[in-house]
């Protein structure tokens, strides 16, 4: 029986029912629910088993995640993920661009933590170039600064969307309000709110603009006041706790078997944080504590994220203090065979090529012009080999396996994205629970589909 025939347009191809080898399939697209239940009544339904496709356009699946849930009443008996809806072939694209241009691609993968994507790729490239010790101190401090600001903005989105999905809309509005402040800082420093392509092999693209440190100090002071709001709103909130506590449980053995890292792993009480255990970018010189919780559930992950934002503020403060003493220091490697030659400057008509640089290459130095031309068109060659330098992204271990054949382009760049790996825990976290808890469990993993599908 077709329930959706329109007298003028004929049958709706996106609604109605069809017979498949798996049984009768109902497509629900907003037609009258009574008609659907009436047609269901025609069937002899001997079982309560129901397979529901949730997504890929469901608002609470964090983008285009498709969940295939098998339900008995409201209990989930089987949960599977369908991914790939956001696959854009970033890794393949990178093989046809220079090593420097690769940053522009990988920053778009996990769009909530662009700096981490850039850093892990750049660190791998620098290891292959064997220039890890030659990166200027200021560039490393700026990388740490940007990553920690980014960790705050990413955790804010995790908490905000997670709150929204269980009905805590205030958490969502204040979360995005604070995130906007971080994005304003990114815009000030890199010129863009997202997709920065700011961290480059050899250093960073640009020095800090004037006044940036004061802005960051103001932000830290403001966040010190606002972060306790989240704690006051959520930590002891009985509804919030009732929805999160004991939901999405995954213990340490489960985490290691499934390769889960990040806040999910730390919520089991295991203090594994690459910033401490295998430091990069000089993290060993900063003071901060690894945050853990011992409940191994969604509530614990929320608390870990909240506490990590406080730690990130500590790190940002230390970065600002160091940067204050590094004014005018170089932010790009001194090696002219690798360093990106051109610089941007603000002129009367907006941001553009630095006139000083143009004067230098066009009027003063033929060699500088040649270097500019060769590096921008051809790029530098990276010695053949492979490297893997993982970083602690807001979601866990993010690593780029970069392979070079000695050419000017990556031979292969593969990103081990924590969202991709952590999403494998969906089944064990949600099977046997209620369908409403699936959302909470997935929100506690905080998958970003741009990173999952790449």
């Amino acid at each position: 029986m077709d329930t959706s025939t329109n007298p003028t347009t004929g049958p709706d191809p996106y609604a109605g029912t069809s017979q498949t080898s798996e049984g009768r399939v109902f497509t629900v697209t907003g037609q009258d629910w009574d008609e659907l239940t009436a047609s269901l009544a025609d069937e002899v339904i001997g079982e309560e088993r129901l397979v529901v496709n949730m997504g890929p356009q469901h608002p609470s699946t964090h983008g285009v995640l498709r969940l295939i849930l098998e339900l008995e009443g409201e209990t989930v008996t089987e949960a599977r993920c369908g991914i790939g809806y956001l696959h854009t072939g970033i890794e393949k694209n990178m093989e046809f661009r220079t090593w420097t241009q690769g940053v522009t691609f990988c920053t778009r993968m996990d769009y909530l933590s662009p700096f981490f994507n850039e850093v892990t790729y750049v660190l791998g490239t620098e290891r292959l170039l064997d220039i890890e010790d030659d990166i200027p101190e200021k560039a490393q401090v700026m990388r740490v600064l940007l990553m920690e600001l980014n960790r705050i903005s990413s955790h804010l989105v995790a908490i905000a969307t997670g709150g929204m999905e269980i009905g805590a809309l205030t958490v969502m509005t204040i979360g995005f309000r604070e995130r906007e402040l971080v994005l304003d800082l990114f815009e000030l420093i890199t010129g863009l709110r997202m997709n920065h392509a700011f961290i480059r092999p050899g250093g960073v693209a640009q020095d800090l603009p004037p006044g940036a440190l004061d802005e960051i100090r103001g932000f830290v002071a403001l966040m010190r006041k606002r972060l306790p709001e989240y704690a006051a709103l959520c930590n002891a909130n009985p509804i919030f706790k009732a929805r999160l506590e004991g939901v999405g449980h995954l213990d340490l053995e489960g985490c290691l078997a499934l390769g889960i890292t990040g806040p999910v792993l730390r919520s089991t009480g295991y203090p594994w944080d690459l910033r401490k255990t295998q430091p990069y970018c000089g993290y060993e010189d900063y003071e901060f504590d690894v945050q853990t919780w011992d409940t191994a559930d969604s509530y614990g992950r929320f608390r870990v994220r909240l506490n990590e934002m406080h730690e990130s503020l500590r790190l940002v403060e230390q970065c600002v203090d160091r940067l204050a003493g590094l004014e005018g220091a170089p932010v790009m490697i001194a090696d002219k065979k690798i360093a990106w030659p051109s610089q941007l400057a603000i002129g009367s008509d907006g941001l553009g090529n630095s006139l000083d640089h143009i004067r230098h290459i066009m009027g003063e130095s033929m060699e500088a012009l040649i270097h500019h031309f060769k590096l921008v068109t051809e790029g530098f060659r990276v010695p053949a080999g492979q490297a893997y330098v993982p970083v602690e992204s807001p979601r866990g271990e993010l690593g780029a396996h970069v392979v070079s054949d000695g050419g000017t382009k990556p031979f292969r760049a593969h990103f081990r994205d924590p969202s991709f790996t952590n999403l494998q825990a969906t089944s064990v976290m949600s099977e046997g629970g209620m369908v409403a808890d699936v959302i909470v469990a997935i929100a506690s993993v905080d998958p970003v589909m741009g990173g999952v599908d790449r």
């Binding site: 790939g84 499934l258 790029g379 080999g385 396996h401 382009k409 031979f411 593969h414 991709f420 790996t421």
Partner: protein
């Protein structure tokens, strides 16, 4: 980069896989610069000889001893130490046994696998498809890499899902992108590409599309056929 990079490497230190011809990726067109005739070897870091230095030796010796004890022979083809990272090249027949020893032996204890990444080397005859595993020992805070290869004509590798369940999706992705079949995987289906997709996009021989231009029937050639520095 120091000037030493321009010197020829001593024999045995590098391994040549393929060669690079020309400079501008322009074959057959009117490249009159003379660089079109350039032929350069593509040299990858070759096998290292022990001692490898630091804890690398501890791991290599412990692994050898464990494999001997388990009766697994000729498991390790070679060990490459490059840029402070150690890579064990493993025979594919021994991969499952090696992984199990690496995970379970208390002195190795690589309990965490970051995943598998495929690499396609069309010029590495007989070993075209490589799978690269990154393992971490959280107990000892060490990180190693396993590399295993299989020929294009017989793209089979043993699945490691039984040892590292996290590899479930990673192996599916490597199958999807490279066409490596992981024998023993519980459900080796495509994961990122649609189920009915033909071909494996990350392979170097996967055909790429050009772009039509609305000007006198012109087209932009596929990226791998455009003129570019090679």
């Amino acid at each position: 980069m120091s000037d030493e990079t321009n010197l020829p490497a001593p024999s045995g230190e590098v391994e040549q896989i393929g060669e690079r011809r020309g400079m501008f990726g322009a074959a057959g067109s009117g490249d009159t610069s003379g660089y079109g005739g350039l032929v350069q070897p593509i040299n990858y870091p070759g096998a290292s000889q022990p001692p490898y230095g630091g804890w690398f030796d501890t791991v290599a010796e412990a692994l050898d001893a464990r494999l001997d004890h388990a009766g697994v022979e000729n498991a390790i083809e070679k060990v490459v130490v490059h840029r402070g990272e150690i890579t064990f090249h493993v025979q594919r027949t021994a991969l499952a046994a090696v992984a199990r020893q690496l995970r379970d032996a208390p002195e190795l204890r690589f309990e965490f696998c970051s995943g598998v990444s495929g690499v396609h080397y069309p010029d590495d005859t007989g070993r075209e498809l490589h799978a690269v595993y990154h393992l971490t020992s959280m107990t000892h805070n060490r990180r190693i890499r396993l590399e295993v290869s299989c020929p294009d004509a017989d793209p089979h590798l043993p699945s490691l899902v039984a040892t590292y369940p996290t590899l479930d999706w990673h192996e599916r992705e490597t199958w999807d992108m490279f066409g490596i079949i992981f024998d023993g995987h519980p459900g080796l289906a495509r994961i990122l590409m649609p189920d009915d997709w033909p071909g494996h996009p990350q392979r170097k021989d996967y055909p790429l599309g050009g772009i039509d231009v609305e000007y006198k029937g012109g087209t932009i050639p596929p990226p791998d056929q455009r003129r570019s520095y090679s």
